[in-house]
């Protein structure tokens, strides 16, 4: 009855695997991931319906995309990189705490007990895994669809060389790997908003609003160097690996900028959640 400390008591509550299963049981999470996985197919269908023929001099991206499997995959990564992945990130991270609160499951998790910081950490890691898996899946599906539709050729860099197969795979992998750099801020802000509200859609919406305003301000040239502070300023650095020549500078800047937002917003989220009274 007095339950002496045994091995299981030292094992941490809420294993990562369990949290992954929990997240993947949510249709919102599945839908967000499915959008990314379905994108290559949607683009392929759009090309089929649009009936765009590879023209002899066309250098527009859509025409380029249909020149080979590798180019198609690169095109899909290129177009997904703007708002789409940001919205998916916002949904995944905005759902973390707010989603549990809206389902009334948060209090039961905390009463297990799962220490609050651990809950936040495990959830953030699980969401990151889901996001990375979806991004990787999108690249793989894009390559498959591209190779089946346009043959196994390597990618043609816009205004650049045609790459061979190995180089193409390396470029696509690097692009997929680097895309999350530009999403760190959205993940951190989504987590913070998720802690602040019990409405997952409000949290995701907040991130999207900031993304839109930030992108808009980024187009105002008069802001000069101050644009470097905008969270979305380096959002397109992942495109470096789809271009020739590659420039690692913006990639590094994107990583630094994303980390800075994580370092600022992450602790605020953790502090707020740690001292928060859980109601509802």
């Amino acid at each position: 009855m007095t339950a002496p400390a045994t091995a299981w008591q030292r094992r941490a509550a809420l294993p990562l695997r369990v949290e992954l299963v929990r997240q993947l049981s949510q249709w919102r999470v599945l839908a967000a991931a499915a959008v990314l996985l379905a994108l290559p197919v949607i683009v392929r269908v759009a090309f089929a319906l649009g009936g765009a023929q590879p023209s002899d001099t066309g250098t527009d991206l859509a025409t380029l995309a249909q020149s080979s499997g590798g180019s198609f995959a690169a095109f899909v990564l290129l177009v997904s990189g703007g708002y789409l992945v940001t919205i998916v990130t916002a949904v995944l991270f905005g759902d973390l705490i707010a989603g549990e609160a809206s389902r009334s499951t948060l209090k039961y998790l905390l009463a297990i007990p799962v220490p609050r910081l651990r809950l936040l950490g495990v959830k953030a890691i699980a969401a990151a895994i889901v996001l990375l898996a979806a991004l990787t899946g999108m690249a793989v599906v894009a390559l498959l669809v591209g190779v089946l539709s346009y043959g196994p050729g390597g990618m043609q860099v816009p205004n650049g060389p045609r790459l061979d197969g190995g180089e193409t795979l390396l470029r696509l992998a690097l692009t997929t790997l680097v895309t999350p750099f530009g999403l760190l801020w959205a993940a951190a802000l989504g987590l913070l908003l998720s802690v602040l509200t019990s409405s997952p859609l409000a949290a995701a919406g907040g991130v999207v609003v900031v993304a839109i305003v930030s992108t808009t301000l980024d187009q105002v040239e008069a802001l000069k160097d101050f644009r470097l502070w905008l969270p979305t300023h380096w959002a397109f650095s992942y495109q470096q690996f789809l271009l020739q020549p590659i420039d690692l500078k913006p990639v590094a800047e994107a990583f630094a900028s994303g980390l800075a937002w994580v370092v600022v917003l992450g602790p605020i989220a953790a502090w707020w959640f740690h001292r928060k009274d859980i109601t509802g």
Binding site: W8, R11, S104, N159, A202, G205, V262, A270, H274
Partner: protein
């Protein structure tokens, strides 16, 4: 309540989003103001310079000075193209101004409002002028200085490009040179040496590029009655002699050398960017190649760009980024720019435009073994018409063969080119794609038909044939002039440098014509037989591994990343350490509490002491609440809605922190995340499940989340309590309120915790289920476990619980065993024959209250007096008791308790 909370949550989101937006907008104000101030208009001014070096006469150079927002800044001297003036440079000047440079744009002598005569970038005219303008920049206070010298770059295209090179080579103060589509040797550009030669031949011959020369002199002579008035007299004479069919004398060559970078480039010290266009029949890639060779000999860093443009394209358009990057490195960062070679391959019928970057310039002969493509075609006879007319048209000066207009023109003109004047040699379809980059080479056998030694003039051109479509390669034609002996000779031909992607299946076509509209050809009629004497060699450059960055991230960024990563690491470590410390402390406390105390009794499952909770709204939900739950007890928390029951339970579970007071479970203090919470199962404020999973999957997953072994869950026992039947396999989203309620209670019992905390568990259950739940809870506590149940239904609590805590307005108003609390509410209803007498008798007893109700019934609240004593007293007094009813009026008692605590309004 729930709605209000979620609304404040949304408000919070709005607040954070607004805060971020305000922060972003706050950054705008200052730079926006600065931004408008930055685009200041140029200051115009004439600079007096000597007409000739050392002379006394002066001319006036018209200049515009653009100042950037922030000074001091590096300066850029901008030189214009032929026929332009300083205002033509305004867009580029404003771009560079915005990039943060002091820009000095000027009209060269003889152009715009500048006086003097055009000397074609003469070392005795335009170049000293430019040095005088560097003097002006050196005196301008806004120009940045390095050890006394101004930081100055010079940028120019075409006419300005040669000026830039020659100024850079003759003025040590220049720190960077950007020269676009320009010449190395003006004589070679306007009157090129033959691209073909016969081994052992002597002096190479030249061919006059008449069409371009005429255009240049024409645009220089604009707005003047005298066709040559703006040029120096010597240049005028030279031009007139060439047009009349003469050849260049040594004096002419010396004059043109005086206007050529080739004469001074060996002295260059500034890093140089050479931008040369593919679409350029005036200044070929070969000119940049020659410049580059000299610059490397001088030991300076050279970057070479072959871009898809030039005099037949859009000039230097498209090279802005390359220029800006080069200037940023050399002038702003004052760093060493690496060697770099970049070349474009224009779009072809079956391929897209490409761009390749290499760290090394491979030259125009390629870097790897050239592709050897055999040419087919029998010996052909060509004739040169008398007077060289009509001439073939292979391109139109100033119009790119790659543009729509150029292609349309060449498609219209090509079939009309005189047939007898061209020999054509076509390759077999290529077995594999070839990317040509550089100068192709071929040998042809030329034999005069008349069998007498003859001057042969030919123009060689390469064409790509895809299916039935032919596309001339950019770069123009190779003019050839050789003296062929009577029995013929093998002529070596180097074709102009260019780039092209031949797709698999394309054919390479070599065309040799006797006339070309761009050149002054031979006027003597002639006929010769031509045959291909070798395969054509197409130079190639394999691109090295391309996944290399053009620039490494600077120290500033990498340092920033390292610092940020360190911060992340420190934060993570701090969180982990804090967590470990807290858990260790909590575990020690739990271990202490689990040990029997002084009285030999282990600590009670729950002890709440003086707990108070005030919400931010100011509402005191719980005030000084204390009670204890012992083993085996089923404790009811009773109170009206809002009495503080749920808030108390949330504090017991560590979901909410009390403002003051202490809560201990099994001797260990309870705080958010305390390990002791493991021993408490709970159901608070409604069920919460993952709606897309079945009831069973929900419970399994919930147990998995505890991280404890599956066998400890007692899942089947608990599911039996929930009694959901086959519904347990359906998704929870479809459950009724009662089903969810039962599943939630089952979830609370998972692992059979030592303390069960249930908030209003009977809500939504039907009467049989309520009865069943009562039994379950009693039995649960019998084994020494404890249960805390809250309810606002008194009858419910009375039947389920062993002990009661009555809450009202956040305070405990009664506590104890059900008997104790309920006992005070016990009353006897006596039907007697003498009600008045009975009342009188009973008033003498120490009962709590006596009153006459209806006719013959007396109500007694006996308090401490036993029922037997009441009856005995009545019987002693001779009062007959017809009927005795014992009633427990808990509702009344409860209302009494609550009423007593009603706060003053």
């Amino acid at each position: 309540m729930a709605r209000r909370r979620s609304r404040t949550g949304v408000l919070r989101v709005v607040a954070v989003v607004a805060a971020i937006l305000v922060a972003l907008t706050a950054m705008i104000a200052a730079p926006a103001a600065a931004g408008t101030a930055a685009a200041s208009p140029p200051r115009s001014r004439f600079v007096e310079v000597p007409d000739v070096p050392g002379g006394t006469g002066t001319i006036r150079i018209d200049t515009d000075l653009y100042l950037p927002a922030r000074t001091p800044a590096p300066a850029v001297l901008l030189a214009h193209g032929f026929g332009q003036h300083k205002r033509s440079l305004a867009p580029e000047a404003e771009r560079l101004q915005a990039e943060g440079y002091v820009v000095l744009a000027y009209s060269a002598r003889g152009f715009g409002r500048s006086t003097g005569r055009i000397g074609l970038d003469s070392l005795d005219g335009e170049v000293p002028d430019a040095r005088a303008l560097v003097d002006v920049l050196a005196r301008t206070p806004q120009v940045e200085r390095q050890s006394g010298d101004p930081v100055v770059g010079v940028v120019g295209g075409s006419y300005g490009g040669a000026l830039a090179l020659m100024l850079g080579a003759t003025d040590r103060r220049i720190d960077a040179v950007v020269a676009g589509i320009t010449w190395n040797d003006l004589a070679q550009a306007l009157d090129p040496v033959s691209y073909g030669w016969i081994r052992g031949d002597g002096q190479p011959q030249r061919l006059f590029k008449e069409a371009w020369a005429a255009r240049l002199f024409g645009s220089g002579a604009r707005d003047s009655a005298d066709p040559c008035s703006r040029f120096t007299a010597r240049l005028c004479a030279l031009y007139e002699r060439l047009v009349a069919g003469g050849s260049l004398t040594d004096a002419d060559l010396a004059l043109l050398r005086n206007s050529s970078p080739s004469s001074v480039l060996d002295d260059m010290t500034a890093p140089t960017l050479l931008l040369q266009g593919l679409q350029d029949s005036l200044f070929s890639l070969g000119q940049a190649d020659a410049n580059r060779r000299q610059l490397r000999r001088a030991g300076v860093t050279v970057q070479v760009d072959w871009f898809d443009g030039g005099h037949d394209g859009d000039g230097v358009a498209g090279t802005e980024r390359a220029t800006d990057e080069f200037l940023a490195t050399t002038l702003q960062q004052q760093a060493y720019p690496g060697q770099r070679f970049r070349y474009a391959v224009p779009a072809a019928a079956t391929s897209f435009a490409e761009q390749h970057t290499l760290s090394r310039y491979p030259g125009t002969r390629g870097r790897v073994r050239p592709a050897r493509v055999p040419l087919e075609g029998a010996e052909q006879t060509v004739v040169n018409p008398p007077g060289g007319q009509p001439a073939s048209v292979t391109s139109l000066p100033g119009i790119s063969a790659d543009s729509d207009v150029g292609r349309a023109a060449s498609e219209l003109l090509a079939p009309r080119n005189p047939a007898g004047q061209a020999a054509r040699f076509v390759s077999a379809p290529l077995g594999a794609a070839v990317v040509l980059a550089g100068s192709s080479f071929v040998r042809v056998r030329v034999t005069p038909v008349t069998r007498t030694a003859q001057d042969v003039v030919l123009f060689g051109q390469l064409t790509a044939r895809t299916g039935s479509a032919s596309r001339a390669l950019p770069g123009g034609v190779a003019p050839i002039r050789v003296r062929v002996p009577a029995d013929g000779a093998t002529v070596n031909v180097v074709l102009p440098s260019t780039t092209w992607r031949f797709a698999q299946g394309d054919r390479v076509v070599l065309t040799l014509r006797t006339t070309d509209g761009q050149f002054a050809g031979s006027t003597t009629p002639a006929a010769f037989r031509i045959s291909a004497a070798s395969p054509i060699l197409l130079p190639r450059i394999t691109t090295a591994a391309t996944a290399a960055s053009v620039s490494a991230p600077g120290r500033a960024v990498t340092d920033r990343i390292l610092v940020l990563l360190a911060i992340v690491l420190v934060l993570l470590l701090a969180a982990v350490v804090a967590g470990l410390v807290r858990r260790g402390r909590a575990r020690r406390a739990e271990a202490t509490g689990a040990r029997p105390g002084d009285d030999g009794e282990p600590a009670p499952p729950l002890r709440v002491q003086g707990v108070r909770k005030r919400f931010r709204s100011g509402f005191v939900a719980v005030d000084d609440v204390s009670f204890t739950v012992e083993r085996g007890q089923v404790v009811g928390l009773l109170g009206e809605n809002g009495a503080g029951k749920t808030t108390t339970m949330r504090m017991i579970l560590g979901l909410t922190r009390p403002d003051s007071g202490a809560i201990e479970a099994f001797g260990a203090p309870v705080a958010p995340g305390s390990p002791v919470l493991r021993r408490i199962g709970c159901f608070v404020e409604g069920p919460g499940f993952l709606p897309h999973l079945s009831g069973r999957a929900n419970l399994r997953l919930f147990w998995a989340a505890t991280g404890r072994p599956r066998r400890d869950a007692h899942l089947e026992e608990v599911l039996a309590i929930a009694d959901l039947g086959p519904a347990i396999r359906r998704r929870v989203g479809g459950y009724s309120q009662g089903m969810r309620q039962r599943l939630a209670i089952a979830q609370a019992m998972l692992g059979l915790p030592d303390l069960l905390v249930l908030d209003e568990p009977t809500n939504g259950l039907d009467p049989p289920q309520i009865v069943a739940l009562r039994g379950v809870l009693r039995r649960y506590a019998e084994g020494g476990r404890s249960v805390v149940v809250s309810s606002h239904l008194l009858g419910e609590v009375e039947r389920t619980c062993t002990h009661l805590v009555v809450l009202s307005h956040g305070r405990v108003v009664a506590a104890g065993g059900v008997g104790e609390v309920v006992g005070s509410a016990e009353q006897l209803m006596l039907t007697v024959n003498d009600p008045t007498g009975a009342v009188a008798v009973l008033r003498r007893l120490p009962v709590d209250a006596v009153e006459l109700t209806v006719e013959d019934t007396v109500r007694v609240r006996p308090g401490e007096v036993r029922t037997g004593a009441v009856l005995a007293a009545l019987l002693d007094a001779g009062v007959e008791v017809a009927e005795l009813r014992r009633e427990q009026r808990l509702e009344d008692a409860f209302l009494d308790l609550v009423g007593a605590q009603e706060p003053a309004p």
